[in-house]
Symmetry: C2
Subunit: 359 residues, 2 copies
Amino acid sequence: MAETELDLASDAADLTARLVDFPSESGNEKPLADAIEAALRTLPHLTVDRHGNNVVARTHLGRPERVVLAGHIDTVPIAGNVPSRLDEEGVLWGCGTCDMKSGVAVQLRIAATVPEPNRDLTFVFYDNEEVDARLNGLGHVAEAHPDWLAGDFAVLLEPSDGEVEGGCQGTLRVKLRTTGERAHSARSWMGANAIHAAAPILERLAAYEPRRPVIDGLEYHEGLNAVAVEGGVAGNVIPDACTVTVNFRYAPDRSEEEAVAHVREVFEGCPIDEFVIDDHSPGALPGLSHPAARAFIEAVGGVARPKFGWTDVSRFSALGVPAVNYGPGNPLLAHKRDERVLASKIPDAERRLREWLTG
Amino acid sequence: MAETELDLASDAADLTARLVDFPSESGNEKPLADAIEAALRTLPHLTVDRHGNNVVARTHLGRPERVVLAGHIDTVPIAGNVPSRLDEEGVLWGCGTCDMKSGVAVQLRIAATVPEPNRDLTFVFYDNEEVDARLNGLGHVAEAHPDWLAGDFAVLLEPSDGEVEGGCQGTLRVKLRTTGERAHSARSWMGANAIHAAAPILERLAAYEPRRPVIDGLEYHEGLNAVAVEGGVAGNVIPDACTVTVNFRYAPDRSEEEAVAHVREVFEGCPIDEFVIDDHSPGALPGLSHPAARAFIEAVGGVARPKFGWTDVSRFSALGVPAVNYGPGNPLLAHKRDERVLASKIPDAERRLREWLTG
């Protein structure tokens, strides 16, 4: 037991180093989940629940608002960058320092040191965030125990460089197929060229003007792009099929249905024989007008900015819980061999959250 | 020796059956080349030369014109369709019946039975026509002994259903590459989409109006087509490269240089970063205005038609020898498991050629 014990009384940066030295690549989170569960069970003000390698701890103080602090405990594969190393300039290096064991350390420190928060608190530690969405632990908890995730506002402690990232854009991937008729290219007029039929699709994409809507004060930026194109049978054959795969990244003021309808509208009149939705994850509204969110932004002193990429805040949004990202690391350093975090940023984030939850 | 001997006194259809029963898939032509050489060497009016498994036999009568009769002796792989079989309706079945041992039988019959032709004759029997162009025996002879192929007019006895197919179109394949800059598709404005950059290329192709020039009375039909398109990195990445492969089939009044210049002109102004010639074989003029060709068409009573696909007549054209295809089989039956030829067409072709060469 001693070997897996986490000392929640230690400084947030030291605790981050300890968590980094506790490997937990996606799919191998059990030892760390066990250690987190054991540490949380020593705290009498929390009830602790577990589903697989996902651990949820809650206060039950009867406060009028409930806030969720969530973080994933898995990392991408270790690339010779564990154990962690603190250099002379106060930078902590190692796999997960940024994404996102520093955030998990902040969660654990708040859990241990704020026994009487001004809002009821729910701490969520989940697995498999870095792999296929179907394996995502937060999704599994949302499905099996949605009540565990209930709340008025959620903060995901993903690296955001200490700024608040509100909501997230949706992402829709569609395969657009054109068809034709094969023929020998020496007698091309005997066939119909499916690649030529795709010309208007590429024209519409090249001419597309993306929206930049402002929602809750944040300016989003949509995008509609071909991410793949494929067609051709042989060097002397008129091709009978061509597929253009498009990815629509859309602002969270569109629903899933509206996003699909928009893509259909963009390509209306193009000779598309199949319109296949390949992948779809809705966006999430920033919810920054909620009082808890306003107080949070004020407390952390951050400037809210929009989140363009898709994140797990969308899962909270789907449960009716507005959510933001807020964590100490620089997101551009995530998943890199030279992943690192400025150690002083970790207790700094902890302090700001504590101010919000005790002020 | 008896086993490999060919009886050139037999009927052309019987001789075709004998040749079909003498397997000679590409790369395995030596026994048949040996038998052909041995048979030709019994004919005192011919000199015989050999280069690899290619056999060339010539008359030297001092005639003002020289005609080349050429045919390949290899076949595609046998598909359970050897030995040959003559059915009750006079159809000869088997690998090579159509493409082109019936034509080779006609060559051998003319060689054996026309000792004093009105034009000097050159008979060419070559290997590896059905495989990679670099292995083609006619090409090897053209390179090593171009004088063996000298002449005023050439007839390739490829299956053409008893009609004269004049000249052939050229074929040029070019890869057109566009480039861009990768970015995460959630922040597409940080990159540049190479697939979108290919839109004007497909537009030009879709709008292209091919020429149908008339040359020596034959109407050719050009074509410019995408035969492949490829681009994409991953479902969430703005692609930085896209390649459209186009195939230009062009009439024989364009030179190779003119064909390349035309393709460059069609795509002028498109954002193409690389223009790579992937493959190029020039066309061949029909040469039907040559007196020997006119007399030939008259003698065979055929209607000359253009050859759209690329054939070995182009190799003769490159040597300055106008050439046509003329043979007994239906070209649509070539390379098929149920390959066949109407046996009566074989002595019929032989008779027409004899009339032309003795009239």
